[in-house]
Amino acid sequence: MSSAMFDLILQATLETLYMVAVSGVIATLLGLPLGVMLYVTRPRQIMAMPVLNQALGVITNIGRSIPFIILMVAIIPFTRMLVGTSIGINAASVPLTIAAIPFVARLIEGALNEISPGLIESAQSMGATPWQIITKVLIPEARGGIITGLTITLVTLVSYSAMAGAVGGGGLGDLGIRYGYNRFNPEIMLITVVILVVLVQGFQSLGDYLVRKSDRK
């Protein structure tokens, strides 16, 4: 393999990591509160607001039901407004983030579901406010489930980011399509796939390690 090729692969890998990191961090910052809201505003929950809960649920479901490839082109005007262009890794990070927010939110909600209602009740009996219940009971107790959910999100973002390559997003997907597929270079295609596999394995192992470390059960 030529050193030019090596540079190309290295750059594509870094681009993929960049897209996953940016969208992963922003989606977590926005998806975590959304997931908590989906949970605590349910009927009979600590901040029961059934109408808001319904509305958030519908919006989340819409976000989750649009295929990523369609979302990517559909929000191009929004992406342009935000980052000034519709191609490149910054542009690709916008639809990745938008797709990941509802994904993260549902996984967080699922993690909170696993908490025994008795824990919330006992915190209430101690005079905890809803905010205290969220920060001192719900999120710490759901820690393992939340890390699991974020790991799934990162893995999904790796594969979505490869899709972003199809529309000039950069990264390993882009490399695979342009060199591996369009230029009939099976070596590049194979290397791209292997790196993606390694990335996914790495994220999963890291996630599993953190879950094990946080698990006190």
Binding site: S116, G118, L119, E121, S122, A123, Q124, S125, M126, G127, A128, T129, Q132, K136, V137, P140, E141, R143, S214, R216, K217
Partner: protein, 347 residues
Amino acid sequence: MIELSNVSKTYGSGDNAVHALQNVNLTIPKGTIHGVIGLSGAGKSTLIRCVNLLERPTSGSVVVDGQEMTGLTRSELNHARHRIGMIFQHFNLLTTRNVFDNIALPLELMGEKRSDIQNRVLPLLDMVGLSDKANQYPAQLSGGQKQRVAIARALASKPNVLLCDEATSALDPQTTSSILELLRDINHQLGITILLITHEMEVVKSICHRVSLISDGKLVEDAEVGDFFTAPNTQLGRDFLNDFLQLSPPKELLERLEELPGEHTHPVVRLTFSGDAVSTPLISRLARECSVDVSILQAKVESIQDRTLGLMIAELLGSHEQTQQAMSYLEAHQLQVEVLGHVQRNV
């Protein structure tokens, strides 16, 4: 001091309405241990949750330490709850906090300083006998130890009232008695008023001063524990007592038992005696004074607090007149006589 007046709780409305509590009146003086006993679904859980408003009564008034709870704002209510500790059947400890931090939780919620928390938690750990477990996590503890942590946590905010929601129902008998002993000590040393709900007579017998019996959302009995165990007023109360004493006629006898006396039958009676009657040799006097022989089928003596309770199932052998006279004789000596039925002679 806890005072419930005309407390009702209804879930749903119209035809689907479920009346979990109906006009419950209950006064628990400061420093006493009050038990509420009932079958599952009778409304015990709802009742105890109405005290700290985890369940809001549909109507009625709840006064704890002179403060009407139902009229409080959210933040006033949270404040009031700091004065009411609660422990649960399944302990409800945070799995991600160690023992120390679990006990510290209510103090953190109140915004106490870290150094004050330390000063408060360490003596509590000592009191429940878990000083060496401060850094362990709940998963490493036994059920009894978990409940001790929960008790320490409930006491952290120095409450005047402790609510115990089936606190020993998930524990084995030995652990149960050690937890009950701890609760008794707490009541004794700190003067905390304790309201507990349970379905176990053993719990009521060991630590309660007074007991209420709940059935279908209504309190059907309210008595001193000694009175309740010697003379329950309701059939449900008697069922609980008989279950507890495990005193019922042998199956073989039950099959032969007839409801009405015949020409050649003997009555089978359940005798309950308490107080002086326990130490009086009534059975032998019965034989002498009424010429009735007594065939004892089962007998048991229980100590309930400072009282002794005797129970006996016996067959009275004699003519109809003699056995009637014997029963009047026993009743005259403060025994409760319940005729269970009649059996044929010489079978």
